[in-house]
Symmetry: C2
Subunit: 200 residues, 2 copies
DNA sequence: TACGATGCGGACCGGCGGTCCGGTTAACGT
DNA sequence: ACGTTAACCGGACCGCCGGTCCGCATCGTA
């Protein structure tokens, strides 16, 4: 943490850039037709400032997404049930997946932009490992997933794949599935995976 | 189909291009550092010929992938059990997913290149709709998925998400999971979704 | 106020996917 | 065998994008 205190204009420019980028990603249909020059121009600064502040395109999007992700991560790591660590696995797994789904729905543009960086797959992101480890840990306390056969590991990957940004975008954005309907479908699917058959 | 018969050199160049592209995508680590110029050069033709033959980058990759996909699609639509249409759903769903998984494992580079086109999400590809419709149809004949609540629809999406190319690449290519192990994990997961609890 | 350090900005760069058109060559009628 | 023609070839070329660079303005401090 050798970070020196940033200058006042630098901080203000950083904020303008975040706001402008947020705005642009929300308004344009496809994330990849928001260019770095667009962001800089919309914020009223030069490209140099943009790259100085965030390193590269991925850095910018990560900064945006991190702001949205952080409250959820905190609720999961140090919060009360049904998200926090003091929740029985059978309850926590669906709660975490639901929280992630809502996050992706509410921030489709950002999540999509992040996955569409191109240069790195979603599985290289460090927060993916955290979600995976969490889910895996919870699953392995559920009867049937306990063995060292990796079934909890794979199930964690598969469940996370069900809330991937582009799938969510396809369902909500393209096919027009309503938010609550999707939530209940995911809950239903999760319950099935956990072995809680639901009669229909 | 007003397609005129192509000239002989055109056909040969097309074949060289396919072979060269196949080779390049297999040898280079990341699909996006195979450039169109690379492909043309490796095939010993000009870029114009490459773009004339396939339209654009996506067209080239689709042509490559289609060749691998076609036998599987035929086995599923007009083949014998356990893939063909005369298979009971509880058997067909895992068989289809296993076939897809094997396809993705064996053609990781191509599947990855296809999903990494950037310009279009995997869910815009027409073959995705076919797989989804197939799986959905089979699932809806399974007790518990039958209602008009869309649980079969969502489950089909979720199961397909579990065999997405970048997840497969992460598991097999990065984390070194063995092919047979992954197949059995997927089978286990699928069985869970279908309500067939496995004791471990 | 004067002076260093820090940040600014936009011209610039390399490389990408994709286009264009003059030269070349295959296919076919005679 | 040969001429005609339409199709095809190739690589120079274009526009655009992410990212860099460096002379200049601005901030924080004595």
């Amino acid at each position: 943490m050798a970070d020196r205190k940033p200058r006042k204009d630098a901080a203000r420019n950083r904020a303008s850039l975040l706001a402008a980028a947020e705005e642009l990603f929300a308004s344009r249909a496809r994330p990849e037709d928001v260019t770095m020059s667009d962001v800089a121009a919309a914020a009223g600064v030069g490209k140099g400032t943009l790259f100085r502040a965030f390193g590269d395109r991925t850095g910018l999007i990560r900064a945006l997404y991190a702001a949205r992700l952080e409250p959820v991560e905190e609720a999961v790591t140090t919060g009360p049930p049904p998200l926090g660590p003091d929740t029985p696995p059978l309850e926590r797994v669906p709660a975490v997946l639901d929280a992630l789904l809502c996050l992706k729905i509410d921030n489709r543009h950002l999540a999509l932009a992040l996955e569409a960086t191109g240069s790195d797959s979603p599985y290289d992101a460090d927060h993916y490992d955290r979600w995976h480890a969490l889910l895996r840990g919870a699953l392995e306390q559920v009867p049937g997933f306990g063995g060292g056969d990796g079934s909890g590991d794979f199930a964690a990957h598969a469940l996370l794949a069900a809330v991937r940004a582009d799938l969510v975008e396809h369902l909500v954005g393209v096919r027009g599935v309503e938010r609550e309907r999707l939530r209940s479908q995911l809950a239903d699917f999760t319950a099935r995976v956990l072995g809680q058959r639901s009669e229909a």
